[in-house]
């Protein structure tokens, strides 16, 4: 819905493993923690609030929550979370969340996994800028991209 291309992220990856296996790797929290680089408490279940702590070298110890929405094995797993910000002492309870959806489809040679994260247009610009703050990369080309993208939508 966002012609500016700012509302949603979508990624697809073909995994050479059965759909059941991929489902397990994503929804079994012990396995999930390995590739998502987190430590976890509890388990994923519909309606659950799951506490995760980052083990990523960039921010070890950072704590965050995911709010599980749907678990439709072995097809769809979704959660909501607060993107891009965490300020000590700030209550994010009422802040908008983004929706993360994992879709698993059988494909030749394995499983096609589609991940989307959407709802960014509800997130304030300052918050988004916070995500960017540490970024050192050259992003100039992105400007051109957004401009031509938006241009096409006219």
């Amino acid at each position: 819905m966002s012609a500016t291309g700012t509302n949603k992220i979508e990624r697809q990856i073909l995994l050479r493993a059965s759909r059941e296996r991929v489902w397990q790797a994503i929804t079994d929290i012990a396995e999930f923690s390995k590739w998502f680089l987190v430590e976890s408490e509890g388990a994923f279940a519909p309606g659950a609030r799951v506490h995760l702590i980052s083990t990523h070298e960039a921010c070890p110890g950072e704590s965050f929550f995911v709010f599980v929405e749907e678990m439709d094995a072995p097809r769809k797993f979704s959660w909501r979370w607060h993107p891009g910000m965490k300020e000590a002492g700030v209550d994010y309870h009422d802040e908008p969340t983004t929706l993360v959806v994992f879709l698993l489809e059988e494909a030749q040679g394995g499983t096609l996994l589609t991940v989307t994260e959407s709802g960014f247009d509800q997130i304030s610009l300052t918050r988004r800028a916070g995500v960017l703050k540490q970024n050192t990369g050259g992003w100039e080309f992105m400007l051109k991209q957004i401009e031509s993208y938006v241009g096409q939508a006219a």
Partner: protein
């Protein structure tokens, strides 16, 4: 190759920025998106120009422009007696960058998932 990774929060660390700034929902409206799209050409446009071909009234267009201006996406400028409107590219650019960055973190996470799954001994 991963010496200095940009990092946003949950996959990586988060720089902390506080805000009570208006949300970016400004773009979640078709008329406003269209206005932004037209201003993306770079040239300042008047209300008259921006209203031409639109299905809504000039007043409505004006209202939408003010919403966009409050979100920092466009700004008004006077030229003689005429009010012109221009795009502020920075907010869009930053919003876009932000997604790129988060997208890259998804790429990395999914890459790790792939490695995990495909390094297993194939059983069937």
């Amino acid at each position: 190759m991963s010496a200095r990774r940009p990092s946003a929060r949950r996959f990586g660390g988060g720089p902390e920025i506080l805000s009570s700034v208006p949300v970016f929902a400004a773009l979640g409206d078709e008329t406003r998106l269209r206005l932004v799209a037209r201003l993306c050409a770079g040239e300042p446009l008047s209300i008259t120009q921006l209203s031409s071909g639109a299905e809504v009234t000039r007043q409505a267009i004006t209202k939408h422009l003010h919403v966009l201006a409050r979100a920092g996406v466009v700004r008004g400028a006077r030229e003689g007696r005429q009010q012109l409107w221009l795009l502020e590219p920075r907010p869009l650019r930053e919003a876009r960058r932000c997604l790129e960055l988060i997208g890259r973190q998804w790429d990395e996470a999914l890459g790790r998932l792939k490695t995990l799954l495909e390094s297993e001994t194939p059983s069937e």
